[in-house]
Amino acid sequence: MFFHIVLERNMQLHPRYFGRNLRDNLVSKLMKDVEGTCSGRHGFVVAITGIENIGKGLIRDGTGFVTFPVKYQCVVFRPFKGEILEAVVTMVNKMGFFAEAGPVQIFVSNHLIPDDMEFQSGDMPNYTTSDGSVKIQKDSEVRLKIIGTRVDATEIFCIGTIKDDFLGVINDPATA
C-alpha cells in the first residue's frame, strides 16, 4: 500500500554549500540520502513530493557542520499483513513462486497455492490446473494476500498466499 506521509530528518551540511543555493543544496542532499531507502517503520521511500519546513540550522561543536531539521512529504510503500494486492510473478520453482509488487518481493510457497495446481518444470516453469485453464508463470499477474513481512537492513520481504477466495491469476477482462 502506498502512503503519503510527513517525515523529519536532521540534515548535516558542510559550509561549502552555504550561500545563495543553501536551500537547494539541502533539498538535493535530502533526496540523494533518502529516496530509495527502506526502513521497517515507514517502508520504502519512493519519492519526496515536497518540503514542509526547514528549521534553523545549528552549528555543531568542533566541526563547523550545520544541522538543519527538515520536514518533508513523501510517498512510501509499506506492505501490511492481511493486505491484498496485485503483483507480477518473477520466478517459479517447485518450492513456490516469487512475485514483485513495486519495490517489494513476495514469496508464495507451494503450500499456499491451491491444491489443484501442479508444478510443471521446463523452459518456462509454471503452476497449472489439471485442466490447463489457469497457469502461473513468469510475468503472470496475480492477486495475493500478504501473510507475513520481514524487515532487514535495506528491504522488506513478504510471504503471501493465493489460497483464499478471489485470489490467484488475474484475468484481464479485455482479453476474456
Partner: protein
Amino acid sequence: MSGEEEEMLLSSNGDEFLKAKCLMNCEVALILEHKYEQLQQMSDDPMNQVSQVFEKSLQYVKRFSRYKNPDAVRQVREILSRYQLAEFELCVLGNLCPETVEEAIAMVPSIKTKGRAHDDEAIEKMLNDLSLIKKFE
C-alpha cells in the same frame, strides 16, 4: 481495517501513519509520472537520477492502475469518500475494483464488521458507481 493492520498502523509506527493518507496506484502513477517529467526537463538522463525503488514503483503503478485519466482518478476518490470508509479500505477497493459484493467483502473484510453502516445494497451501489467511471473513462 483488520485488527492486524490497525495494530501496525497505530502502535508500532508512531504518529506518521495516523495522519497518513493512503494512495491508490492510479494516484501514485500521476505523482511519479509528474516527478519523472520534472526530472526530464532538468537533465538529459533522468533514468540515472532516480533510484531503483522509484523505477520499480513507477512501472508497478503504471501496470496496475485501473484508471489512467486524472479526472477519473479524482472521481474515484470522490465517490469512494462518500461511503464512510477508512483510508486503507478506500484504496484497496480503488486498486482492486471488485466486481461483486462478495468479492468486495473478501478483499476488505472490515467493511462488514458489526456496527458499520454498509449493507450489501450500499456496497453494490458503490461498485456500480466505480464501474461507471471505468466505462466512461
